[in-house]
Amino acid sequence: MNRRTLLAASGLALASPLLSRNVLAQQAQITGAGASFPNPVYQKWAEAARSAAGIALNYQSVGSGAGINQIRNRTVDFGASDAPLTAQQLTEANLLQFPSVMGSVVPIVNIPGVEADKLKLTGELVADIYLGKITKWNDAKLVELNRGLTLPNLAIAPAYRADGSGTTFVWVSYLSAVSPEWKEKVGIGTSVRFPAGTGARGNEGVAGTVKNIRGAIGYVENAYATTNKLVTTQLRNKAGQFVAPTQAAFVAAASSANWNVPGMAANLIDQQGETSWPIVSPTFILLPKNPTDATRSLNVMKFFDWAFKNGTQMAQELEYIPLPNTVHDMIRAAWKAEVKANGQPVWTL
C-alpha cells in the first residue's frame, strides 16, 4: 500500500516537469542580453509578461559590451546597451536602436553628521573631486556652498565602478558635460581612467565602499540608492537650482528631451528646467533590421509593446522613468518602417 502510493507519487513527480514544459512550450521564447543598468525592470517585465502576454523573455545581464557582441553575432534576439551606438555602428551591424526606459544616477556620500539630501554639490566640484583636485571635505569651495552644514576636516575618498558599466557611462557623460577639464583629461566611456579614488565591483561594491570609508563619495543608480537608503546629495542643475534626487526631478529632466535624433539617442544629461535632475539617461534596445527568424523578432516587439502599455507602473516602482507615450509611438513607427523580413515589415499592428 505504502509502496504503491510512493510509486504513484514518484510517477507524478516525474510527469510534472513534462506537464509544465508543455505549458512553457505554448509561450513564445525570446532571448536578450546586455546592459545591467535596466536589468531589474527587464526582469520584472519578463515575469509579468510571461502570463499576461504569453512571451517568456530570458534576459541575461552580461554588460552592454557583451550584449552588443551577442546581437552582432545574432546569438540573441535583441541586445541592450546603456551607451547608444552611433548611426554608423548601427548601419554596419544592420541594427535598429530604440530606447526602452530611462534611469538616473545619484551621488552618495559618507560624511559624519551629514544626512540624506542635505549636502549641496555642483557638477564642477564633483568633477574636481574625481579629478583629485579637491581632497578635503572642508575645502573652501564646499564650505562656501554648504553654509548650514559643518563639514569635517576629512579626506575625500572617491569611489567608482571598477567594472565597465552603463552607470559609469552616464556618470562620466555628466562630468564631461559640466567640466571641460574632465572631458579633455578623462572623457566618456563605460570604463574610464579615473585619476583618483578607489574602484569597486557593481553598485553594491560602490555602496559598500562608501559605507565603509568615512569621507567617501560614490555614485550608484537611483533605484539602488533608494532601496538601500543611502545618503544621497543635492546637485545644481543647468538652471542654477539645487535639486534633490526625486522622481519628480527625473521626470522633469526627461520631459524636455529631443528624441528625433539618429538612433533615438536623446541626450538627457544636464537638461534645462528649474526642477530637472541633471543625471538622467535612457537605455537602449538593439534589434536586427533583417531578422533571421521573423516570429522571434515580432515577439520581441510584442514584448516591448506590452511593456510600454502595461509596464509603466512597474518601472516607476523600481525608480525608473517610463518613456512618454509620444516616444512609444515613434518606436512603433520605427519598427514598422525598418524591421523587415523578405522585404515585408514584421511589425504590422
Partner: protein, 327 residues
Amino acid sequence: MQQAATLPLGAPMDAKPHRTASPGRFGDTVFSAACHAAGGFVLLLLGGIIVELFIGGLPAFRAFGLPFIWSTEWDPVTEVFGAGVSIYGTIVTAVLAILLAVPVAFGVAFYLTELSPPWLRRPVGTAVELLAAVPSIIYGMWGFFLIAPIMGQYVQPAVIDTIGELPLIGELFQGPPFGTGIFTAALILAIMILPFIAATMRDVFEQVPPVFKESAYGLGCTTWEVMRGVVLPYTRISVVGGIMLGLGRALGETMAVTFVIGNANRISTSLFGPGNTIASVVALEFGESEMGSLKLSALLALGFILFVLSFIVLAASRFLLRSRLKA
C-alpha cells in the same frame, strides 16, 4: 586466489581463452588508445589555450609593441593600453602574500609535526586542509565587509601615523586609509595560500627519516635545533617548491582580489594605495569589451602574460621538487 589460479589448468583450453583473449586484446587496445588520447588532450588543450590567447592578444601586441609590458597607461576612452600597472600589482601582491604567509605556514607545519600532542594533529591538520576548500568569493566578501573596514578604521590610520612618518620606509605606508588596497589584497591572498604551503611543509617535514632526528636529539639538540639543523636542510628544496605552488595560486587569484584591491590603474608608492592585478582587470573589463576591439585584444594579451607568469612559476616549482625526488 588459490582457486582462481588453479582453475584454468583443469578447464578446457578452447572455451575460455577464446572468450577472454580477443575482447581482452581489443579492450586493451581501446583502453590504451583512450589513455593516450587523454594524455594528448591535456597537451593539446594547454597548447590551444596559449596559442588562442596569443592570437587574440596579437592586435594589442602589434599596436603597442614590447612597451605594452611596462607601459602604465590604461585608457579605454582613447584606446591606449599597457600592462605595467597590472603586472606590477600581480607580482607585488603575490610576493607580499608569500612574505606574510610563509612564516605562519612554517609555524603551523612545525607545530603539527614536532610540537602538538598527537591527538590534536588530525583535527588541526584537517582544519588547515578545509581552509583550502573555502571558495575564493567567500574570502573576497569576508575581506571586503570585515577586513577592509578594520584596516581602514584602525590598522591603517595607526600605521600611517607612526611608520608612515619615518623617512624612506614611510613612503610605503602613506596616503588616505581606504581600507582596501594592495596591502589588504596581499593579506587576503596570504590567508588563501596559507593552507597550501602549510600542508606541503607538513608533508615534507614528516618525510624526514626519524633516525636523522633521533640522532640529533641523541646529541642533545633542542627541538628548534633539530628543525633548523636537520629537518629544514633536508627538506629545503621541497619547501621552496611548496611556496612556489602558493605563489602560483596567488598570481592567478581573481575574485577575492577584485573585492579588496581598490581597482585603480595607478602605481602608488604606498602599499595602502589602490592598484589592480592582471586577473582582476580581465574579470572586471571583459563584459564591456566589444568583439574585435583593441580593448578585448589587450585583455587577451594580459591573459597571455599571466599564463606565461604562472607557467614560469609552476615550472620552477616542478623543477625544484623534481631535483629533490632524484636526490
